[in-house]
Amino acid sequence: MSPVGTREEWLEARTRLLAEEKELTRRSDELARKRQELPWVQVEQEYVFETPVGPRTLTELFDGRSQLLVYHFMFGATVPGWPEAGCPGCSYTADSLDGAALHLPPHGVTFVAVSRAPLEQLEAYKRRMGWRFPWVSAEGSDFNLDFSVFTDEGRRTGKGFNFGTAKHTDEIDLRRDELHGLSAFVLEGGVVYHTYSTYDRGTDALNATWALLDRTAFGRGEDPENWPLRHDEYT
């Protein structure tokens, strides 16, 4: 265990660490800026999702806002807990996302979780976990595959998880396996563009609202009036 020191000694060590923490904060700001500079890719395919209010297209999932964040929640036949429950790791992340997601729509960003399981299963599990975020089913669509690999080769072989990172490359087949991640889309002039996706440890820092905004096409933007508010105060 660490040595016990005086308040002064601790403060000195803490202040040294603070300098490094600040360096990382600046580096994170720089990364968020680079995310916003990534090129955009037009989404040509018209995906349709099963939602509690009937079938909705990807464009309709924006729900009148210009930005959309999709959490790829692992809930499919290869996930532990099937057919009653979604992935425990995603559930853990969702516990935190649930509160953060309340603050996104008032900031112009729609948040939605997407899974392969049929809608009835998603709704039953959502009730059990007490979550509020919208959750739609991509059953029967290529949505999950299309936003986990980005080359024709990847689509054919199911290989290429996390942009071809060497780790896991052999054991993961994206045609079959459920994997979690986050994708960002933007709606501009009636056209949907894909701007960002992240997987694996890239999702570590996702749960806070600021961290989420750092991954949208327009970033944190200017602080609008009346944001953030207490979650029961948004109109």
Binding site: G5, A13, E21, K34, P88, G89, T93, F150, F163, H194
Partner: protein, 230 residues
């Protein structure tokens, strides 16, 4: 507005891969910082602080609820206010389920200067279940430099500020190991991000921790929040 160029999927993947390398560097740097935090010296808390909970007086040691570590968020709620700070409220909204902290031998608590009745009423309004204690009758907030000596009427939340402290319990003794403020708090959100501030870390075997620290396999300790054995 100058929007980024529109490209093909494979061109986008090239740009994304370049960025991924930098994101990974930042992830490694974050891990290295967490390893340094686990080696910070600790300071004994010498004073016997007594806070107020919904059931009555609670000594600081009981905030640990029998666990080894305590993450304590100083939530800005002035004694003359009826609602707590909106930014602090957003922090609590995105806290996640406490069962995941408990599974890592870590308790989480909020402390504010407002009297406990006000905290309870606001907690109910917000629908939170996180334990919340009042330091109204204690020196705790002033000693930890989140409250002015006397509440400042007319200032936001009567002059309170926010901060996050981490404590470690060893027998009957309590030690402060860490504190962060301002943008250090802004970066928090996920259970992982909080555990990275604690003296024991995530308690996973890949972590660079001092000899003898509790460590297990990553991705195996968590459960659905209603499936943890108590």
């Amino acid at each position: 507005m100058d929007l980024p160029p529109v490209v093909s999927r494979s061109e986008w993947e090239g740009a994304r891969q370049e960025l991924l390398a930098k994101e990974k560097e930042a992830t490694r740097a974050r891990d290295a910082l967490a390893a340094e935090r686990r080696r910070l010296p600790r300071v004994r808390v010498e004073k016997d602080y007594v806070l107020q909970g919904p059931e009555g007086e609670v000594p600081l040691g009981e905030l640990f609820e029998g666990r080894r570590q305590l993450i304590l968020y100083h939530f800005m709620f002035g004694p003359n206010q009826d609602a707590g700070c909106d930014g602090c409220s957003m922090v609590v909204d995105q806290l996640g389920h406490l069962a995941h902290f408990h599974a890592r031998d870590t308790s989480f608590a909020l402390v504010s200067r407002a009297p406990v009745e006000k905290l309870e009423a606001y907690r109910e309004r917000m629908g939170w279940d996180v334990p919340w204690y009042s330091s109204f009758a204690s020196d705790f907030n002033v000693d930890f430099e989140v409250s002015p000596e006397e509440p400042r009427v007319g200032e936001y939340q009567d002059g309170e500020t926010f901060a996050l402290d981490v404590f470690l319990r060893d027998g009957d003794e309590i030690f402060q190991t860490y504190r962060t403020e301002s943008r250090g708090v802004e970066a928090l959100g996920s259970v992982w991000s909080y555990l990275d501030l604690t003296p024991l870390g995530r308690q996973e075997e890949w972590e660079d921790s001092p000899e003898g620290y509790p460590q297990g396999k990553p991705y195996q300790w968590w459960r659905r929040h209603d499936e943890y054995e108590t």
